[in-house]
């Protein structure tokens, strides 16, 4: 089973840049692994850390959050706020030793179809190394 295993990765993509970047990758027929499930969000700043935890809880093996490059935010500064928030989350997960490599962040602009495909490839690769998610996945066991 281990050999067949393909990770499921939830990607929160900002509507203005990364989603368009993913679109461009598609239009340009740039290949990238089919492991991601895209959720379009208005801005990377709108991604609550709980979304990331929830994705992992519900069985995603990895999470990718991608937004506009610093300075390019459609809402001027949403991605700067996001950067602070995700920095704290990233550091915390790293410190706790849980799943921090399952959670990846990137800036991908609307013209970076190539970069988007790279980011997905790298993310999939990292998550594959880690194997199926465990620590944050919801569990349920009968007590007695």
């Amino acid at each position: 089973m281990k050999n067949d295993w393909e990770p499921k990765i939830v990607a929160f993509l900002c509507h203005w840049c990364s989603y368009a970047g993913a679109d461009l990758a598609g239009i340009s027929r740039i290949q990238y692994p089919p492991n991601i499930r895209v959720i379009r969000v208005p801005c990377s700043g709108a991604v609550n850390p709980l979304y990331i935890l929830k994705a992992l809880r519900e069985g995603a093996d990895g999470v990718l959050v991608s937004g506009c490059h610093p300075g390019d935010c459609h809402y001027l500064s949403g991605n700067y706020f996001a950067r602070r928030k995700f920095f704290v989350l990233h550091q915390l997960l790293q410190w706790l030793g849980i799943e921090e490599n399952r959670v990846q962040f990137s800036w991908v602009s609307a013209s970076e179809g190539q970069k988007f495909s790279q980011v997905v490839e790298e993310t999939v690769e990292k998550v594959k190394k880690l194997g199926p998610a465990q620590k944050l996945v919801k569990e349920f066991t009968f007590h007695v």
Partner: protein
């Protein structure tokens, strides 16, 4: 029912084939841990076995064309649970009455049927203990359960079943010793609440004392979750296309417990919720089932983060009731 003494060797012999089916309450372990093998599973109280903090009531799944539901299986291997009298009383006099009462709760009943109780006499009541106030006692026993008084070299046993066949007649001397011990232990404990208390308490529902009594309670669920008698639960689901109906602990201390979908809440503040907890234990439950829904184990008092002490609430209401009766 028979009585007798079981020597240490025979006790261990009796335990031999039960090692992996033994449960011991945390508080009993502190006192009598050395009488049990290291394999014993230590639980907070019987609730952890009979009403686990999460359990599956049934499964549902999308079977391609339609939804299906099916029941899970409850493990019914025979288990032994040794606990202090208060903790056994919580099962026999409170949760059994709720869950074995029609309509019978199947999961509870399955587990309960396979659970044998052993009551270990309580020889060192703690400062937070008040079992005698609510009708129990450190030597409380029940014909359904084994009653044990571990001593230096042997265990005094009352009850029925296999363990008794390991016992020897203790004679008048042992009987005397046990009685003396019981008297000694019981001497420092409070006397029972007056018989009129539960009925009269209800008459004081509207009293302003509740404001003061409830003020410093933070409305967390520590007391209710750790209480051996608090059985209130929530039903919720987990999973979309396949999942289960979950039963999990709930607490009358939480605002959500009674919040309607319309956002109306009949118990909107801490005052109503604290009052509900006290009333349920000391008035409503006695009215329905004939005894308090509190066994006086004192765990809620000991564990409360802000030292909210149910004994003080009770004392205060008893005083008021007695003042008004006089």
């Amino acid at each position: 029912m028979s009585k007798g003494l079981v020597t240490k060797e025979k006790w261990w012999k009796w335990l031999e084939d039960k090692k992996d089916r033994l449960f011991l309450s945390e508080r009993a372990q502190k006192r009598y841990g050395s009488w049990f093998p290291p394999e014993v599973k230590v639980v907070k109280n019987g609730k952890e076995i009979l009403l686990p903090s999460g359990e599956e009531m049934y499964r549902y799944f999308w079977a391609g064309e339609e939804w299906k539901v099916e029941e899970g299986e409850v493990n019914t291997a025979p288990l032994f649970f040794f606990s202090l009298p208060c903790e056994a009383r919580a099962i026999i006099e409170i949760t059994d009455k709720v869950f074995l009462h029609e309509p019978i709760d199947k999961n509870y009943r399955q587990r309960r049927k396979s659970l044998s109780l052993g009551i270990l006499a309580c020889l060192q009541p703690e400062p937070t203990c008040f079992c005698s106030l609510v009708g129990g006692g450190p030597f409380w026993k029940n014909e359904e359960a084994l009653f044990l008084v571990p001593r230096k070299e042997d265990i005094y046993v009352e009850g029925e079943g296999e363990l008794l066949s390991y016992s020897e007649e203790g004679g008048e001397k042992v009987k005397q010793e046990i009685q003396t011990l019981q008297k000694e232990v019981e001497s420092g404990l409070p006397s029972p609440l007056p018989s009129y208390f539960s009925q009269e308490l209800y008459q004081h529902f509207e009293d302003e004392e509740w404001d003061d009594i409830s003020w410093h309670c933070m409305n967390c669920g520590a007391c209710t979750f750790l209480c051996p008698t608090c059985y209130c639960f929530d039903l919720s689901i987990e999973g979309r296309l396949k999942g289960f109906q979950l039963r999990s602990w709930d607490s009358c201390m939480f605002p959500k417990f009674t919040l309607h979908a319309s956002f109306h809440n009949p118990r909107p503040t801490g005052k109503e919720r604290v009052r509900q907890r006290v009333m349920h234990k000391f008035s409503y439950f006695p009215e329905r089932e004939g005894n308090f829904a509190c066994v006086g184990c004192g765990v809620c008092v000991e564990k409360c983060p802000v030292n909210w002490d149910i004994r003080e609430a009770i004392e205060r209401m008893v005083e008021k009731i007695d003042r008004l009766r006089a």
